[in-house]
């Protein structure tokens, strides 16, 4: 997203102008829905998460501080935390039931991705799985490094190093050359 458009949205948010939500949705909804889906593995839940998150964004619009985080980072935090909270809430109610539903009922995976995202996805897939797993655990599953270490049965030091290397590799993937692809895809 261009800096100009992002500044415009932030201004509308601070002015409590509802057009901000419309613009945010147009430019971030698919990405945030993907984030919600990655956390919940459930399309219906992800839909609820996105809806709740956008409403939260509207209600918290005046609290956004552009000096502390980029607009997407702020949106990501809200969506991720809403998804994790919802998932934990459901798991608390019936952990066993939810696990069954997630594993056998709801459709997830490659079928839901849009064709225009496949190239980017392929780029991400070029990142070794061991790095993806660590990044996913920390960024999408709401785990701390210690929890990821225990869950993945990998030493804490290794988690830290894989996160660093994974992020560095991502930087390479989304470097200048990758950015050209992303711009061409309109992302």
């Amino acid at each position: 997203m261009s800096q100009l458009l992002e500044s415009h949205i932030i201004q509308l948010l601070h002015e409590r102008d509802k057009r901000a939500i419309s613009l945010l949705y147009d430019h971030y909804a698919d990405t945030l829905f993907g984030v919600a889906l990655k956390v919940t593995n459930d399309e219906e839940l992800a839909k609820d998460v996105l809806q709740e998150s956008m409403v939260k964004v509207w209600h918290k619009s005046t609290s956004y501080d552009a000096n502390k985080a980029r607009l997407f980072t702020w949106l990501f935090r809200i969506t991720r935390n809403t998804a994790i909270d919802k998932l934990r809430s459901l798991k608390n109610k019936s952990e066993k039931e939810i696990q069954l539903e997630v594993s056998s009922v709801y459709s997830i995976g490659e079928n839901t991705y849009q064709p225009e995202h496949l190239d980017v996805k392929n780029h991400v897939n070029s990142l070794e799985e061991k790095y993806q797993v660590v990044i996913d655990a920390l960024f999408f599953q709401g785990m701390t490094q210690q929890e990821a270490s225990e869950a993945l049965d990998v030493p804490l030091g290794t988690i830290k190093s894989r996160l660093k290397i994974g992020l560095r590799e991502l930087r390479k993937i989304f470097g200048p050359e990758a950015l050209v692809i992303l711009v061409m895809l309109g992302l």
């Binding site: 509802k18 939500i21 419309s22 949705y25 147009d26 909804a29 698919d30 990405t31 945030l32 829905f33 993907g34 984030v35 889906l37 990655k38 399309e43 992800a46 839909k47 996105l50 809806q51 956008m54 409403v55 509207w58 209600h59 502390k68 985080a69 980029r70 997407f72 980072t73 990501f76 935090r77 991720r80 935390n81 839901t112 991705y113 849009q114 995202h117 980017v120 996805k121 780029h123 991400v124 990044i135 920390l138 960024f139 701390t144 490094q145 830290k160 996160l163 992020l167 991502l170 930087r171 993937i173 989304f174 990758a178 992303l182 992302l187």
Partner: protein, 264 residues
């Protein structure tokens, strides 16, 4: 400083800050280094860019119609308004409750005031009765004293064949000039007839009044100086100005009585 920056970058604090999961103590520390260290700031910006690109790689078409639902939802009154509505409802309920409570206590207070007034009236009544009883008692005592007085003379008037059940006792004190009668019993008369009492004074019958059943109660009758006898006649209802001698039913002659006493 460099070592601190190195330690920060080697730790997961920057990632935690990115996700908004740093503690209250960690947050200002990380923000301090982002503001003061170009290296940390650059790492933080890169981290944000990576996160966005990485997230975009998982972008998925959002469900149809969701945008309209969200826009419709934020058009509705905010939660704050709902809170205000609930607060208004709660305030109304509280006001009604307070009003009802106030009415209840006001009503209860009125009842208590009424009860108190009733009790005061009863107490006043009892006081009045007590005073009345005291007065009656004093009167009875006074009457009893008169009857006990040695100067008081007792005379019994009995009915003749025309009024067999008539029995009246007269108490006369010529010193105190008192005259009392106690009607023990009176025969029943037709509705248009009454018993009337007379004193014979110097050969003239003077009315002392109409006799009425008084539940064995002592009644005062006018004292007549020089009365020689007391007489009871049956007279028309309302009494008669002149005694109907032929209807005489009881008589007591004081002179004869005195003569009998002297003789005894």
């Amino acid at each position: 400083m460099k070592e601190e920056i190195y330690n920060l970058l080697e730790s997961d604090l920057l990632e935690k800050y990115l996700l908004g999961t740093t503690s209250d103590e960690e947050t200002p520390r990380v923000e301090h280094f982002i503001d003061t260290s170009l290296e940390v700031r650059k790492a933080y910006i890169e981290l944000q860019e990576n996160l966005e690109q990485y997230s975009r790689s998982y972008a998925t078409k959002a469900p149809e119609g969701l945008k309209e639902e969200i826009l419709a939802q934020i058009q509705e009154p905010r939660a704050k308004s709902t809170v205000i509505n609930w607060l208004s409802i709660a305030a109304s309920a509280a006001a009604i409750f307070l009003g009802f409570t106030a009415w209840y206590y006001w009503d209860a207070n009125n009842s208590l005031v009424n009860q108190q007034n009733e009790m005061m009236a009863e107490i006043d009544g009892l006081k009045s009765n007590l005073l009345q009883n005291d007065a009656q008692f004093a009167e009875m005592q006074s009457e009893l004293e008169k009857l006990r007085n040695p100067e008081t003379k007792k005379y019994v008037l009995r009915g003749n064949q025309n009024a067999r059940n008539l029995k009246t006792v007269a108490y006369i004190n010529p010193v105190e000039k008192l005259s009392l009668i106690n009607i023990i019993d009176l025969p029943k008369l037709p509705e248009d007839k009454v018993f009337q009492m007379w004193a014979d004074v110097d050969g003239k019958m003077v009315s002392l009044g109409i006799l009425e059943k008084a539940d064995n109660k002592l009644m005062s009758v006018p004292y007549k100086e020089n009365a020689s006898s007391y007489n009871i006649t049956i007279e028309p209802k309302g009494g008669n100005d002149h005694a109907t001698v032929e209807n005489l039913v009881a008589n007591i002659d004081f002179n004869i009585q005195e003569a009998i006493k002297i003789k005894q």
